[in-house]
Structures are given as structure tokens and as C-alpha cells.
Symmetry: C3
Subunit: 153 residues, 3 copies
């Protein structure tokens, strides 16, 4: 099977760019995750995975990543993205939730906290805490807000 | 290279949730696939892969998965999702097709059957049978219908 | 960790199909990449990766792939997709950009060239050249234009 990740790092960043994809690319660079091959996952924290503050991964590596992103071309619009990692009281697997929208960073963060709480309730498990990363951005021309949980080894 | 999957399991499920992503998460739980890291693939059944009725995968594992999903926030709307695995008469690789829409389970199932037939015709191969999983859901507030083929080891 | 790809192949293709997903599937077949499990990546060329003109990968294999695709059901509409691989003067990692839209092949190609240039500028690196694949298609009923960089081993 594909090796299950053992580490995770929570990041966020916002940026402008000359195109939608460049804005996304620049937001990844701002988040410190721009030179990797992100594989989007849907999105469980493996049991025993350890949080590491900084990514230490060579460029071009394949990195399973749960993320939320929004790109806007509406000048002056406020956009935000957040991720939350719900950690259980029982030491079992965690649940990762992503959100992005036309709102503030605080609203995005509150939303992923609610989503993590609901995910634990749906599983009948006690939620201990939620690790959050969130960002907001005021669009100039083409802007992107991006938040992610990278799962690595 | 990344190891080619040798097993597959076909699942489906529908659910409500307090947000779009929670509805999706709950539909995955209803389908029995909620505690994994789904890697969305586009979507071929490896030659020789064996159907296994139940998933037996530890939480947080990376699982290549072909899936169709629809989320709706329109009360009383009927939504459906289906997957089909087209199996050839020749024992070679199969083709996986996904569909979701605002329709009945029967319509979604018929659609993936048609799509698998067309995929085999495009390859000039004889289709032996189609393995299908399908689900429909009547939305209350925020609902999701989800159908998937998990590829594992 | 997941093994980092060491080869890459740039492809493109367009096709019609009886459904949106069949059109996509047929465009993949036209591009010579139809019988693989594409894992969508976001999208860096690993340092030292070597371009190989033809894919040599068994069916059903998991293949990290950066791609742009557009499906249209508007008769007579022109659609296009392009990918660009920006290669640096320094031999370090490259940057892959994807684009698809309702435009000509030349416009799609020019767009990915601009995007690769911007991605190198954002990184403060000198761009040596851009390897491009692009395709355009005039829709009859349901058409798809697809361009990709497959990363393999």
C-alpha cells in the first residue's frame, strides 16, 4: 500500500498573481509549500501523526495535502481560507476540515472549528482540540487565499 | 513507481450534515469509507484486481479512489450518485465511470452503465459486465450522495 | 515517502464523447494516456527529471499528472488546453502550468508560457525554456480538450 504519513504541518498564505493559477502558486509559496507536488486528499490525520512546525521536504516530492483555496478576481473583495485538524481525546485518528469563502479570517477559522466538532460528533468521539491555520486577503486584481495540512514522512 | 492496486471495493452512501463538507464526510461514513485519505483518481481498474466486499484498511491510509459526489442545499431536492466498473470479456484492465446529478438512483445507475459501454466501445473491446453501486438522497438541509470505487492492496 | 518521479512526458488530445466523462476519457485516449489512473498534482517538475517522448506504463498504474482540461456541450464552440513545463537555467526543479479555456490553441499555449515566466519571476529564478503541449477542438456535441504532464519512474 501507499505509505501512511507520519508527520503533519499546518500552513496558510495569501497572494496576488497575474493569472488565477499564478495567484494560487504564489499563495502556496507564501505558505511555504510552493515547490512540492500536492496530492489533494480527503482528509484524515493518521493515528500517531506528529505535528512538525516546518516542512522539510525536497522540491518536487509528492505530498498528500488537505487544503482549502479560493481565487477571486473581484477588486477589493475579502477572501479567506482555513484548515482545522480535529484531535481526539482518545489518541486515535484525527479529522481535517477545510474551508474557503468570501469572508474574514476569523469567520473561516470559526467555520473549520464548527466542522471539526461536527465531524467528531458524527463519529461519537470526544474532540480534544482543533489546530487551525487561516489567512485572509484583500483582492487587488487576482488574489488567492490558501490553507493546508501537508501530510508527510 | 507507486504500487498498483490489487483489490477494489465498490461503495455508496448518502447523508445530511451541518455544512457541505460535513455532509460529504457523513456520506463517506455512510458508505463505510469515512476514515481514510481518499486520493481521487481518473479511473482505470488495474488488470487482475480482485473485488473485495468489505474494506479492510487502517484509518488515515492513502486510498486511490474513483468517486462521484453531489452536495445540495435545496430542500426536498433528490440527488443521486453512481459508479460503474466495466469489466472486459478479455480479462484485461477495466474502466471506472462516475456520475452524480439531480436524478434518481436508477437514472444514475443507467448513466454509468451507458458510460462504461461507451468506454469499452471507444477501446474496441467487448464489455462483459458492469459492477454498479448507486445511492439517492432526498435533501433536508444540506445533503450529499456519494459513490466510489476504492482501489487498495 | 512516496517516490519522487524521475521521468516526464508531455501530451495533449481532444475528442468528442456521448457524455462529459466519456469525452474526457476519449481525450485521454487521444493523448495516449487513457488507460492509467491519473492522480492530479499541483505541479512541480522534480529536479533531474528527464523528458521521455512516449509513456511506457502498464495499464491501471497510478500516475501523478498535472493537467488542464475543458469539456463543452456548446456546438461549434472552440476549446483549447495547454500545459507548459518551465525549465530553469540552473538545473533545479521546474514549474508546470496548466490552462484551458474557450480559445485557440495558440492562445492557450501563449498563456501557459506567460504563466511559466511569471512562476519563475516569483521565485527569482532565470527561465531557460518552456516545453509546451497544446490542443484545440471544435465542439460537435460534447467535446473535451486535454493537455497533461505525466510524472513517472
Amino acid at each position: 500500500m501507499l505509505e501512511t504519513p507520519r508527520k503533519f504541518t499546518v500552513v496558510s498564505g495569501s497572494a496576488e498573481g497575474p493569472s488565477r493559477l499564478n495567484a494560487f502558486d504564489n499563495a502556496l509559496l507564501a505558505a511555504g509549500i510552493g515547490n512540492l507536488n500536492l496530492l489533494k486528499v480527503s482528509s484524515i490525520l493518521p493515528p500517531g501523526a506528529v505535528e512538525v512546525p516546518q516542512l522539510d521536504i525536497p522540491p518536487g516530492a509528492l505530498v498528500p495535502t488537505a487544503y482549502g483555496a479560493i481565487v477571486s478576481e473581484v477588486p477589493n473583495e475579502r477572501i479567506a481560507a482555513a484548515v482545522g485538524v480535529g484531535i481526539g481525546a482518545d489518541g486515535d485518528y484525527g479529522v481535517i476540515m477545510e474551508f474557503s469563502g468570501r469572508c474574514s479570517r476569523e469567520e473561516a477559522e470559526a467555520e473549520v472549528r464548527r466542522m471539526c466538532a461536527a465531524a467528531f460528533e458524527a463519529r461519537g468521539r470526544a474532540l480534544d482540540r482543533v489546530i487551525v491555520a487561516a489567512t485572509e486577503h484583500r483582492v487587488r486584481e487576482v488574489g488567492c487565499a490558501f490553507a493546508a495540512v501537508a501530510l508527510w514522512y
